[in-house]
């Protein structure tokens, strides 16, 4: 509860806005405040918001993402680990084949994905899945177009993953947090697409103007060739 005081007033207000609009009852504000305070806590628990009592069994050597909001955040953490490792390798091995302005973009992408990964790890605390082992053997880091194509795959996949996972989050604070990250992924996706072919920034959208939203199982299947560690999404909310 103490953490509430660490939070700027406007942020508390915006997170409890849903209550304010509906309730307009002063006495309730204290409890809305409690929600805001609760969302500031670093996750130090496992699956408290899980509706299912029974956990699906997981094969040995398989990393289980877990259930409830924790599971969804671990799912995001897994994807951010993949992206961060990819751009770190690009910056390490391939930077010189990019123009100066492209190099800045690659450095920024490495930084953004790195901080997403490290932030999620910190937020998940003891509930965080272990470090994943990536498999980039199919990527040619000597080939710029292959690097950009892979980056585009990862960024579009990340956007679709967050878009599809939002509905499984129970906690409003986490939903907003996922929203803060997904739009940055979408900015990345647009820029990478434009680097490949200028003007294709939002060609991902359908004729209703909607970006894809993908379910975790499909996302993990698409990411599987790049991740050595076996991941189980069996306990994620459905």
């Amino acid at each position: 509860m103490k953490k509430l005081h660490d939070k700027p007033a406007d942020q508390v207000k915006s997170e409890s806005g849903s209550f304010n609009a509906l309730m307009q009852r002063r006495a309730f504000f204290r409890y809305a405040g409690a929600t805001a305070a609760a969302t500031t806590m670093i996750l130090g628990f496992s699956s408290c918001d899980d509706d299912n009592e029974e956990m699906m069994p997981v094969e040995p050597d398989t990393v289980d993402l877990g259930s409830g909001d924790t599971g969804i955040l671990n799912y995001a953490y897994a994807l951010e680990q993949l992206e961060a490792a990819f751009y770190a390798t690009v910056v390490d091995r391939s930077l010189s084949m990019f123009s100066q302005s492209e190099q800045q973009i690659m450095q920024d992408l490495k930084g953004h994905e790195g901080i997403h990964r490290d932030f999620l790890k910190a937020a998940l605390g003891s509930a965080a899945i272990p470090d994943l082992e990536v498999d980039f053997s199919s990527i040619d880091f000597e080939d710029k177009s292959n690097i950009l194509a892979t980056a585009s795959t990862f960024e579009d996949l990340g956007v679709a993953a967050y878009n599809g996972a939002g509905q499984y989050l129970e906690n409003a604070g986490f939903l907003t947090l996922a929203g803060k990250i997904v739009s940055v992924e979408a900015r990345h996706a647009a820029v990478i697409r434009d680097l490949i072919s200028n003007g294709t920034f939002s060609d991902s959208a359908n004729n209703m103007g909607l970006d894809p939203a993908m379910m975790p199982a499909d996302v993990l299947k698409a990411a599987a060739p790049f991740i050595k560690t076996k991941i189980s999404a069996n306990n994620l909310p459905k």
Binding site: P8, L22, A122, G209
Partner: protein
């Protein structure tokens, strides 16, 4: 924290609290199981989520969010439609192609939001009259001014949708559609920013966004570095610069903040 005491207190101002909670998710059964397997410290979390579900949303709130979004989409559609019609404004073919695609998406968003509102038995608001020249008289004669406003609208749109996501927590279908629009707006924003020679992402409170003083409201709060209980997100891992830490997270705007920005064009 005594959960039942809290609920009793709430009952004093809301006699229907038990009905709300019970009809939702058999809350007391769930709370029992939470207690069994969770450390006490996590209870406020669960409790918050329960109340959020019970009180956070009604269909009216979902309709309010959809009409709020519809107004922004009307604004964007109108802006790009007029911009494309203004003679001599957008002459470069790549630029026209991009603006045409963005206009097409905004028009599709208008149609989709209207039909969604109607499907929920709501009434879509009529298109307001916008006055883009009110504070920017050369908006449709000066290409750079036009692009500056386009950037401001797109970055505002991203922040506006983000600010409403939590209000849609209880309607998975509408939430997902809103997220699918939200990421398209972010793609537009990144492209328009780069058409102006900016990076695609927002560092600090708009430090790298090249907007005039009057448009700073669009980027207010984007310099936040406190994320999800991590007091200084710059400090995670091996540490990150302010530019990276602020650009890696887009920040929401409240309805009031968005209304303030939109009022510059009404």
């Amino acid at each position: 924290m005594n959960i039942f005491k809290i609920i009793e207190d709430i009952q004093k101002v809301d006699p229907e609290v038990y009905d709300r909670l019970d009809s939702r998710r058999q809350v007391f059964k769930n709370m029992g199981s939470i207690g069994k397997k969770t450390a006490l410290a996590a209870v406020p979390f669960a409790l918050g989520s329960v109340f959020q579900k019970a009180y956070g949303q009604s269909s009216n709130m979902v309709l309010d969010v959809l009409n709020f979004a519809l107004k922004l989409e009307y604004l964007e559609r109108n802006f790009y439609t007029q911009g494309l019609e203004a003679s001599g404004l957008i002459t470069d073919s790549a630029a026209r192609g991009a603006i045409e695609q963005i206009q097409m998406h905004e028009a599709a968003h208008v149609d989709l939001l209207k039909s969604t509102i109607e499907s929920l038995n709501g009434t879509p608001i009529d298109e307001p009259t916008f006055d883009f020249g009110k504070n920017f008289p050369n908006w449709n004669s000066d290409y750079q001014t036009f692009l500056t406003l386009a950037q401001a609208f797109e970055d505002t749109g991203v922040r506006a949708y983000k600010g409403q996501a939590a209000n849609l927590l209880n309607n998975d279908t509408v939430l997902t559609v809103a997220l699918q629009i939200h990421s398209v707006e972010a793609r537009h924003a990144a492209h328009v920013r780069r058409m102006r020679g900016n990076m695609g992402w927002i560092e600090g409170a708009g430090d790298n966004s090249n907007v005039p003083e009057g448009a700073q409201a669009v980027y207010a709060g984007e310099d936040n570095v406190m994320q999800g209980g991590v007091n200084d997100v710059k400090a995670v891992g091996a540490g990150y610069s302010v530019a990276i830490a602020t650009a890696a997270f887009d920040e929401p705007l409240s309805k009031e903040q968005v209304a303030q920005i939109v009022s510059l064009f009404e």
